[in-house]
């Protein structure tokens, strides 16, 4: 059995702590090339990851980088630095710990490259950037261990793929490098282990005692939640009562907009003036840091927050977590609950606050799933090639490379283990020449092959441009918000599309304050104080979360009951009303509702097939409707239903579902759709065709939207088999489009379609009108609406008699 060195053992003893079994096991197996630890939050997971490093470094370590720690969040790196310094200092170890993120000063960054600390804490993007420097081999010389924290969160996105390609590079630079992954509880640990290990190395999985089940309930209020709406304003008094009854409460929201509105309402009702703060990713960094500091100092009774506080940050005395809005995803719910009560082996306490009655149903289904330990997850396919293209460019920045060696290196990343050489060569060609069928400007290609066979940048200056565009996070484009006037203090950021919708005098919420829009100045939104009580513009858009399919299935099952004893009476009544005015969805049948609303004809299809499939259905049906002259204008898909709006009502939906007609000519329709253009934009940006940053200045998002759509249309017309078009199709099929499920659904339903025509929105359809992620359909409706609007404008302006069209 491995024993701790005396200095660390003394530190454990003075704290009165015992080393956890999984921490000891991590220490004993520290020599393995790859280890994955699955442990609940609060299980001393991070210390388990670092103990081998502290033991190996000892009291007086030689200089040089020993351990690299990578986390998905900047804030997490800063938090770990704080927490890790405690045992290091108290045990008297001379270990230098530093973080390096987008927030680190350029001076500190330069110093770190010349004289790296023993432990460097960073993010996937900052690491990718580090590997792009020519001096990377010197900086990483002697690196022994890499610890990937919250790997379950990274594994779900391209950030994970980017990280693993960077680790492949590190393993080339440091052949003995050992990898450790730290993960919350997940449904498929083996998949994460495959991602972590250097292929084809094995990766052992250690599982810590999961601890007791969390104490998690739905918050019961006297007031019924509304039929639709996301603000949960009805629950404010009940939430305040909970805040009063606990030491520190974290109040999670699914979107920033919801957090802002809730915080505003909470503040209006906060008669005791309890210290309550707000924290989300759109707020200015200084504001966020202030809230974080107040939290650490124990000065706040509650924080209204979003996912920016989601991951593993240790805020000490949190004894209650409140989730406002349905949790959408059981895994995320369980991880959020982990925030409360960081004492291992004591149950965490959490409350769910549904924002509307549909969410009551979702919350009850999620609670059942938590009790059943039914975690949801979607398998990911092979590694996306847009990320691979970016890493070829990163490799070129670091210096000339040999294509065979780079191919060998990249296929050691688990997600790319099955990448073929021709696929790799296509990516290399894309990076070098653009990879077009027409070879027009080869003398200006980006990478060229030297006589000795190595590849290098044609123009060394392009390295700076490539470095500026490293990363895979597809943030929506945002604009900074400042107080008006010279040197106005920054408040945060809003999405560019939201800013575009504002006119002077509009008021909206940011940082819990009502502000008045004054204008746009050099891509900064200027605002002034507004004494009003109610913001005119209610919201800015937020991230859309998909409910897992497992939850959908639970919900449709719940609908089949005659009465709903497990649901609060108001929600049971709401479902009964839906049954009365329309119907409830049934397995094996397909419920469709049509009704007019908002000056348009609405069609709702309750397919319960998951968001990807419902989105596909939206694409298919709008295509048929366009062919049938029904002038569809757009659709939005949730996990349960697809809502389509257009100019003409659908009288008989059955012909719409003719599968053969649905699928014929689909490719052409799909190719022209906004979903594909959005996907192309993301992949083209990652692969380096579209540069978001140019010479330190970020291009305005509107400009970027324009150019990516034009590039997409051009490729579709002249070079439809181009690598980026292939990637776009792959990505769309992977993430957005799910044909198999639609065929399956059609087969299951057969001809059993229940079509209900209503004169107004049904209870079940109401929440759909708040869904973000609406997909426009640009077809005949555009021209019809335009003709209508032109006639109106010309009439009102008296210009209608001047000219006549030819």
């Amino acid at each position: 059995m491995t024993t701790l060195p005396p200095s660390l053992q003394r530190w454990f003893d003075t704290r009165g702590w015992q080393i956890h079994p999984h921490q000891r096991e991590m220490l004993e197996r520290a020599g393995e090339p790859a280890l994955l630890l699955i442990a609940p939050t609060g299980g001393g997971k991070t210390l388990a990851g670092f103990l081998p490093t502290l033991v190996e470094l000892g009291e007086t370590p030689p200089p040089g980088l020993h351990t690299l720690y990578v986390s998905p969040l900047k804030a997490l790196a800063a938090d770990i630095k704080r927490n890790l310094r405690i045992p290091v200092e108290e045990a008297g170890l001379n270990i230098r710990i530093e973080d390096r993120t987008g927030d680190t000063s350029s001076h500190a960054k330069r110093r770190q490259r010349g004289d790296p600390p023993h432990i460097l804490l960073t993010t996937p993007e900052s690491l990718a950037l580090l590997t792009s420097y020519e001096d990377a081999p010197r900086m990483f010389a002697g690196l022994q261990r890499v610890v990937v924290d919250e790997i379950h969160a990274l594994a779900e996105s391209k950030r994970g793929d980017q990280l693993m390609l960077a680790l492949a590079r590190l393993s080339t630079l440091c052949p003995g490098l050992r990898r450790v992954g730290l993960s919350a509880t997940v449904d498929d640990p083996a998949a994460i282990a495959r991602l972590l290990a250097r292929a084809p190395d094995p990766c052992a999985i250690l599982t810590a005692d999961p601890g007791p089940d969390p104490d998690i309930r739905m918050l019961v209020t006297d007031q019924a939640p509304p039929w639709s709406g996301g603000g949960a304003a009805y629950a404010i008094p009940a939430v305040l009562a909970q805040v009063r009854a606990h030491k520190t409460t974290l109040i999670f929201h699914n979107t920033r907009a919801q957090a802002e509105i809730f915080f505003h309402n909470l503040w209006l009702a906060n008669d005791d003036a309890l210290p309550i703060g707000i924290h989300h990713g759109s707020l200015d960094r200084l504001q966020r840091e202030k809230v974080e500091a107040a939290m650490v100092a124990g000065q706040l009774r509650a924080i209204v927050c979003t996912g920016s506080l989601d991951l593993g940050i240790d805020w000490g005395d949190v004894d209650l977590v409140i989730q406002v809005g349905a949790p959408k995803n059981v895994k995320r719910l369980v991880q959020r609950i982990g925030r409360a009560n960081h004492r291992y082996n004591a149950p965490s306490k959490a409350l769910l606050v549904p924002a509307n009655r549909f969410e009551v149903v979702e919350c009850v289904a999620a609670l059942d799933a938590v009790k059943a330990h039914d975690l949801d997850g979607e398998p990911r396919g092979p590694g996306p090639r847009d990320v691979l293209c970016q890493h070829i460019l990163i490799a070129a920045c670091a210096g000339p490379f040999d294509a065979d060696a780079l191919y060998g290196e990249m296929t050691t990343a688990g997600a790319y283990a099955t990448l073929t050489r021709p696929q790799f060569d296509d990516c290399l060609q894309f990076c070098a020449t653009g990879g077009y069928a027409l070879r027009a400007y080869d003398r200006w290609q980006r990478l060229l092959q030297r006589p000795d066979g190595l590849w290098q940048l044609r123009d060394p200056r392009s390295a700076a441009r490539i470095r500026q565009n490293i990363g895979t996070i597809q943030d929506t484009d945002t604009l900074k918000v400042r107080w008006r006037g010279r040197g106005g203090a920054p408040l945060g950021e809003i999405e560019e599309t939201f800013a575009a919708s504002l006119t002077k005098g509009d008021t909206f919420l940011i940082g819990g304050q009502i502000v008045r829009y004054e204008g746009l100045r050099e891509l900064v939104v200027e605002v002034s104080r507004d004494p009003g009580k109610k913001p005119k513009i209610a919201t800015f858009m937020g991230t859309k979360f998909a409910t897992s399919t497992q939850l959908s299935a639970r919900i449709v099952k719940m609908f089949q009951q005659d009465i709903w004893p497990d649901l609060p009476p108001h929600t049971a009544q709401w479902l009964a009303l839906q049954r009365k005015v329309s119907r409830l969805p049934e397995p094996g049948r397909l419920l469709i509702e049509s009704f007019p609303h908002d000056g348009r004809q609405q069609l709702v299809i309750y397919g319960f097939a998951g968001r990807n499939a419902m989105q596909t259905l939206g694409l298919l049906l709008t295509k048929r409707m366009e062919e049938m002259g029904l002038a569809p204008m757009g659709f939005v898909a949730t996990d349960y239903a697809t809502l389509i709006w257009g100019l003409d009502a659908v009288i008989d939906p059955a012909p719409l579902f003719d599968l053969d007609a649905l699928e014929s000519g689909l490719e052409g329709w799909l190719a022209g759709n906004a979903v594909m253009k959005r996907t192309f934009r993301a992949s083209a940006t990652i692969a380096g065709l579209i540069e978001r940053n140019l010479g330190g200045q970020r291009k305005s998002g509107r400009q970027a939207t324009m150019s990516s759509d034009i590039l997409y249309d051009t490729l579709l017309k002249y070079d439809p088999d181009h690598l980026l078009m292939q990637i776009t199709r792959e990505e769309a099929m992977r993430g957005l489009v799910d044909f198999a499920r639609i065929r399956e659904m059609a087969a299951r339903v057969g001809g059993r379609i229940d079509h209900v025509t209503l004169d107004r929105v049904s209870p079940l359809a109401a929440p759909l009108f708040l869904e973000p992620g609406r997909v426009p359909v640009r077809g005949s409706a555009d021209e019809r609406l335009l003709a209508e609007e032109v006639a109106r404008l010309m009439d009102t302006s008296g210009l209608s008699d001047v000219d006549t069209p030819d």
């Binding site: 027009a440 200006w444 335009l786």
Partner: protein, 219 residues
Amino acid sequence: MSFAFTFHETPLVALPSGALHWPARDLLVVSDLHFGKSARAARHGGAALPPYDTRDTLLRLESDLTTTGASHVICLGDSFDAPEIGAALPEDEQLWITRLQAGRDWTWIEGNHDPGPIGIGGTHLAQRALGPLVFRHIATSTERGEVSGHYHPKARISLRGRTLSRPCFLVDDKRLILPAYGAYTGGLDTGAHALSALMQPNARAILTGPTPCAIPMPR
């Protein structure tokens, strides 16, 4: 469908593509072709954009020339994305331009992207007067009957809660501004200060697209 209107007592036609036709003079006017935009981007060491922009622009221009049968052409400047970029175009594209010029009276107006001679046939002028109209790249503040380009105007219009954005002509009593004709060109919103300040309050926007139509200029 195209849109007929009168500017400075001159009957003109706005084509769906963004070209301007003057039937009485047998003249086609296009602005901001930006030939060689992808070539220029590649030269600067950035990513290679799809090199199909020039042929796409040429295809549309050829089609407009065939439809109108125009024997006179004026390109209102920024025809080439950079002064010497014409020579960098693939040979077939250079020949294509020459083919379109054959038998036509062709004028290149100088733009800010392509000042001075550009090494390709045709007449090169800073501006050109024809009857009551004068053609130049950038609008001046005083001239009347002026036809220009440069700004790439684009109108945004709200249709029952959805936004439609289209390149457009701008026209008032004094001046007419053409939309950009080239494939890889963005647009400047008509609400932008530069355009609002230039155009008179009664200015109209003629939207390009399947059915060109006029609306009061959105500001």
